[in-house]
Subunit: 193 residues, 2 copies
């Protein structure tokens, strides 16, 4: 029943992602997204309650993309592999990387998210946190504040630091960054078993 759709949700999310990654979230206006897709603005609002909701979908897509492979490495107990996931992922998904690493969620969509979305964000966040805690416990035998901080630094913050400069420049991180991450990893976490 009803007319066939010319467009689908994914097209709008992808267009929004592309624009936000390329020109910053402020440039991601509804009109710009509609233009990119070739749709009228009404069709955007037919599918998304508001601009914030659209950006929320972008955010969720980006975070999920990153986190999946990261958590897999973690669950296998491969800390160094997890640390090296960041430069790999950044090379593979440059637009997504710009969104995830250049902006904070609050900048993307400041407004009130529906409970639905808050729930999804929370679930993703908890999944990451649980994965980290498990890993820390296995690696150190316990998961105190210092052990957790140290692990977050080596597996997340350092890889981020190593690539952020290149993301800003809009170029792929050179191979050197993998070496820096490796060297830092063994300095902070010790040699991998």
């Amino acid at each position: 029943m009803g007319r066939n759709a010319h467009f689908n949700n994914e097209q709008f999310v992808d267009a929004a992602l592309k624009i936000a990654a390329g020109q910053g979230p402020a440039a991601m206006t509804i009109a710009a997204v509609a233009r990119e897709v070739g749709a009228p603005v009404g069709s955007v609002y037919h599918r998304f309650l508001s601009r914030d909701m659209l950006l929320a979908e972008v955010w969720l897509k980006v975070v999920s993309s990153f986190q999946e492979a990261f958590l897999q490495a973690l669950q296998k107990g491969k800390g160094l592999d997890a640390a090296l996931h960041t430069p790999r992922w950044v090379r593979q998904y440059p637009a997504e990387a710009r969104i995830l690493l250049l902006y904070r969620r609050e900048e993307l969509a400041a407004g009130d998210w529906q409970d639905d979305l808050k729930e999804r964000v929370l679930r993703i966040k908890c999944t990451l946190e649980d994965g980290m805690n498990d890993y820390v416990k296995r690696a150190f035998g316990k998961a105190g504040r210092e052990e957790r901080n140290r692990t977050v630094y080596a597996l997340i913050d350092v890889p981020y630091a190593a690539v952020i400069r290149y993301i800003r420049q809009g170029v792929k991180p050179p191979r050197d960054v993998d070496d820096y991450i490796r060297q830092t990893y063994s300095a902070i976490m010790g040699r991998e078993k």
Copy 2:
């Protein structure tokens, strides 16, 4: 000649800095700045050509503040000291740190800056670059691409990585971060002479 001023440029820049640091650059509206100072919006425009110009002044103030002590350490050949400057500065100037490390210049003021301002930004940028190059040359005997990248990583990117999590949370970086920076420094740059 003429009426005495009730306000001065610095008051507006400081108010803008405070608002941008606390609620993000988007919240730094002219009206908000005027309200914070207790001045009419006309007085803001009397002193600053546009919102972008005001944000540019904020940016310059913040960058200069950071760079001064950093370059001093660098000129003394104290690489580790320069690396540890970041957490020190972040603890001392939390608002400035939020601006510098949470946002990029382009987000703050995207528009066309006057030549005057472009010039000042360029000078600051070059000063930093020259300081880094000199340091690299002294530390490694030469300043090739790899040596520069390595140094930028250890002196700038890693300290940034170590503190960014706490800046986002709005709390002072704990003492641990200095240890992480030290350990990473000797792993990447070798023990300091």
